[in-house]
């Protein structure tokens, strides 16, 4: 009786995974083309309303509008108060802000 080798099973598995990788790449292209209208709408809305930040975290002012936040905002409650909003750990101040701030002031 013909018996399928274990290596054949593994090769089939590898080829299927690679085919899914190719499908994933195609899905990225298709998804980006499909979402173009939505992305353009978001960009035009941001331009029209002069929006400066994405709506990612609504729990605190400085996480809702991180680019508009004062440099010392996370410590506003007390000079040595620790960050207490979970999303604060995802947002760090850009280096350039600090540098420009120092340059100007």
């Amino acid at each position: 009786m013909f018996k399928v080798r274990k290596s054949t099973y593994y090769l089939v598995f590898l080829v299927s995974c690679l085919a899914m990788f190719v499908a994933m790449t195609l899905h990225v292209r298709y998804g980006q083309a499909e979402a173009k209208t939505g992305s353009e709408y978001r960009a035009s809305l941001a331009e029209k309303l002069m929006i400066t930040d994405l709506c990612l975290f609504t729990e605190a002012r400085y996480t809702r509008h991180p680019s508009m936040a004062d440099l010392d905002t996370p410590f506003q409650d007390h000079p040595v108060s620790l960050e207490h909003f979970p999303s604060g750990s995802f947002v760090s101040p850009p280096d350039f802000t600090a540098r420009l701030h120092e340059l100007i002031h």
Partner: protein, 378 residues
Amino acid sequence: MSSFINRHRNIIDFALSSLLRRKIKNISLLGVYTLIIFVLASLIFFVHALRREAALILKNAPDMVVQRLMAGRHELIPVDYGQKISSIRGVQDVVPRLWGYYFDPAIGSNYTVMVPRDNMVQPDNIIIGTGVARVRKASVRDLIAFQAYDKTPLLLMIQQILPYESELVAADLILMSEQDFQSMFNLPKGYATDLAVSVANPRELVTVATKIAEQFPDTRPILKSEILRTYDSVFDWRGGMMIVIMSAAILSFIIFAWDKATGLSAEERKEIGILKSIGWETSDVLFLKFWEGIVISLSAFLCGVLLAYGHVFFFSATIFEHALKGWSILYPQFRLVPAIDAFQLTVLFALSVLPYTVATIVPAWLAASADPDAAMRS
């Protein structure tokens, strides 16, 4: 060529049989390995797609936003400043922005309230984001009761709900007329939240910003490049939560590699000894261990990455949702546009597959170089 393929197919057959002999150990190893790669790849996909989206959305953000600071805090800015700023050479336009936050005690969530430039909202009406409509269970022409600054009720009718596509920028947004904004917040006359400044030549932005800071020492100009950089640094690997995830993953890889590199079990040494005594060459044994390592690490990499792709782009990264939501009541429900960062995936491949495979080969090479008799007796 065919003899080369046949030789390797035979070795792969043997490697798979060898792995299946220690089924439970290897399946659990594969499961944990896949899980770690899944978490890391999900993070890579999520962050890359989000940064790409931020760059696309914010490419038309104001050239510069001028804030006034008082005692280290953001303060209302006199509209007069705008008139003086517009006389600076190179400044094209200065628009005072009226915006603020409203805490809704009924729901416990925060909204961003904004007055649009053109009169797109009629007095006594509002345009709301889908997030606000969701938490307030409201639809068009419903009345929403707000509390004005003096605790008097302010009833506003929903003129429009922004479409779902706007969720990532406007989920918590309430657009209202200037008149209603004044009734709600009682801003002093002649003041705005900040000023949006357009500059004709982008290369003059820093010069204009320096002039503004010199003329108005109590202001802080924020350039568009800084706004964009903010989103480049969101989910930076140095951030608290990110470093925890990364260190957990790196530590797991070290444990895997350590487990392999510290040596083979007595059973595995015996197996190598038997193989050598029946005529296997050292190179065959090394190929066997190489394929064992590849089967585990490559399978884990492929499955982990594919699962992560589905998790982020088909299921909106549900596993991360609780961490991202934090304590916010109103959380945007958006589906990210698929995007892959090939460089980061290559780095993940190099860091996950290669060390494990190398760590599998090295102790096998040491055992295979020894005398078969000694290896079988050990």
